[in-house]
Amino acid sequence: MTDPLSTPAPFADGGWQSLPPAARRVAGITGAIAGLVVGTLVAVPVAVAVDAGLALKLALGAALWLALPVLALVWARVRWRRTTWRLDERGLQVRRGVLWRKEVLVPRSRVQHLDLERGPIERHFGLATLVVHTAGTRMHALRQSGFFDADAMALRDALLPEADRHDDSL
């Protein structure tokens, strides 16, 4: 692995960065899968319970069954578009949320430890999820999926707490 301090990371300028387009695909796929599961759970009982002819039953079931994954897919894409992040001298900042918007800042000096996670779909697209742990209570971990693998590793290395840090905040 390269030394992150000697080779400046591509995000060293500290501006807001979007997630890679692959992340949109991954978010869409996972959203659609979740929507499909929920859609099945909703559509089948509704179609069975509704008092109508077979054709209408099937149509209603199919409509519900398809509507939820499509909705989830659209939502995931909007969410992807609204998610941006930046790393500057203060720390890692992530902006996200469609209706309820949030801007989370984890200062460098407050990072406790970091995790990198890669699910099967993410792995296929060369992405990773970064989890930044703090000692806090409500926001004890900042979890953001959809980073390029290399970006996530560079972020991790840039945020790693120094060994000799004195934790006077605790």
Binding site: R110, T134, T137
Partner: protein, 504 residues
């Protein structure tokens, strides 16, 4: 005391108090008491008693094994604990990591002259070490050792651990009158009754129901027998309600006396320790700098008595729902005493804040909308069900409006001398504050309603924040102000870590 801590720091391995197996056994019996009793009482005539006895025998063996395998050794900078019979564990606890030394003495412990000792460090869900039980002298010696190490430079050798300690200063003491007042103010009795009902309802729901309906039927029958008019009925109901209130408050006072009798808060160097309890004595210790966030409260009844309560968050997570921690730093004091205490303990010594800044001018509307809609919905439902009488629910609207106005007038935030403070509430006022350098992360959030009004919420996350306290957040800030404050706080948080990074 010095000789005791010398002896403890001698470096030899030690065991717990010889009676400790008895207390471990009692604790285990407590958790097994219900199944054992069920076995003893339901299995009449069978061999179930024998099984119960066998179970108790096994427990005795387990307790004895725990006693014989638990050893601890005091080293220069920490405590080493060896325990376990089959799965052995060796644990090293550096003294400077210990945030709290909690001593716990039930009545039985006091009779035997022993105490339960717990060492807590930051963030753990479990205490670092639980020593059940140590002789009182050993417990105090251990407390002294931790205190000596927490106090700046570690002594050069174990023998010098007993360097002259800074003298103790009493910061707050509650006499019996104060504790009675505390009982009247806090509604601990209510919690107990609610918990009691919960347990009863879980074990046998029919019992609660039948007892309650029995009482109600009895009371109604009595009323009918006496041929009460509406005045009589009203008086009867009112006196019953008054009786319930008085009984609950008496229960609260009794509980407060049990828990807070003889409360003293003492400062020794940089360490705070609080002692309390009538039958069960508790003592908790914490370095002053480990306080993460503060919450000061003044409810309606507080105001009648001209008192306030102060609680603090410490870094150990478990402390939040545990009696032994130092959460109740000052259960009750007059506002002046409280301000002086906070000024003394808060680094920077700046309290009360002078420059309280208001929230967004339309903040009251945000507080009014939801209750207002609720009142309208309630009116609609009642009017539909009861006819025109239901319109009386509209009377709630002015009340909610008054609430929102008072709330908005009191609400505000302040950032001075490295401390960020938020105040909210109308009848029940509270102040929540923390040092800026204790903030772990910053969140700027905007709901769709916030965006409509051009507002934002700033949430400051701290360590060990109790779920029972209001969060450290400023709601309904004008967006630009929220961003400015966010950036100002963020600049103060980066600290030393930045320089090291940019230098590389």
């Amino acid at each position: 005391m010095t000789t005791a801590s010398d002896e403890l720091a001698g470096g030899a391995e030690r065991r717990l108090h010889p009676l400790s197996w008895l207390f471990v056994l009692l604790l285990q019996l407590k958790s097994f008491a219900l199944p054992l009793l069920v076995l003893l009482f339901t299995g009449r005539g069978n061999s179930w008693e024998l099984w119960g006895l066998a179970g108790a025998g096994v427990l005795v063996l387990v307790s004895l094994a725990q006693y014989f395998t638990f050893r601890f050794r005091v080293e220069r900078d920490g405590l080493v604990i060896r325990s376990g019979l089959l799965q052995k564990s060796l644990r090293h606890i550096p003294f400077h990591r210990v945030h709290n030394v909690a001593l716990h003495q039930s009545l039985l412990h006091r009779l035997a002259g022993v105490a339960e000792v717990r060492l807590e460090s930051a963030g753990g869900m479990k205490p670092e070490a639980e020593m059940r039980v140590l002789s009182l002298a050993d417990a105090h010696a251990l407390e002294e050792l931790v205190r000596a190490h927490g106090h700046g430079a570690a002594p050069a050798a174990a023998g010098e651990a007993a360097a002259p300690l800074p003298e103790s200063r009493e910061l707050l003491a509650l006499d019996t009158g104060e504790v009675v007042r505390l009982g009247l103010i806090s509604n601990r009795g209510m919690l107990l009754v609610a918990a009691g009902f919960g347990v009863l309802a879980q074990t046998d729901s029919k019992l609660v129901g039948s007892v309650l309906t029995g009482w109600v039927q009895g009371a109604v029958g009595l009323g009918k027998e006496l041929h009460l008019g509406w005045l009589g009925w009203t008086l009867g109901v009112l006196s019953l309600a008054a009786f319930a209130v008085v009984a609950l408050r008496l229960l609260s006072v009794a509980l407060a006396l049990l828990q807070f009798h003889g409360f003293t808060l003492v400062e020794t160097g940089r360490r705070l320790s609080a002692q309390r309890g009538l039958l069960t004595r508790l003592r908790a210790n914490m370095p002053r700098g480990r306080i993460q966030a503060w919450s000061l409260r003044e409810g309606l009844v507080h105001r009648w008595f001209k008192r306030r309560s102060l609680r603090v968050d410490s870094a150990s997570v478990e402390a939040a729902n545990d009696q032994r921690s130092l959460r109740d730093l000052a259960p009750l004091a007059t506002p002046e005493t409280m301000d002086a205490l906070i000024r003394h303990l808060l680094p920077g010594g700046h309290w009360p804040m002078h420059d309280w800044r208001p929230l967004h001018p339309r903040a009251w509307r945000r507080q009014f909308t939801l209750p207002g809609l609720f009142a309208l919905a309630l009116t609609a439902v009642l009017a539909w069900q009861q006819g025109p009488w239901g319109l009386a629910a509209l009377g709630l609207l002015p009340l909610f409006l008054l609430r929102a106005r008072v709330w908005a007038r009191h609400a505000g935030y302040s950032e001075e001398a490295g401390v960020i403070a938020v105040r909210e509430g109308w009848l029940d006022k509270h102040w929540r504050f923390a040092e800026v350098r204790k903030i772990q992360s910053l969140v700027l959030a905007q709901s769709p309603f916030d965006r409509h009004h051009g507002m934002a919420t700033l949430l400051m996350d701290t360590v060990g924040a109790s779920p029972f306290e209001p969060p450290l957040r400023i709601r309904y800030l004008p967006e630009a102000e929220a961003r400015a404050l966010h950036d100002r706080l963020a600049a103060n948080l980066g600290g030393a870590a930045i320089r090291a990074r940019t230098a590389a």
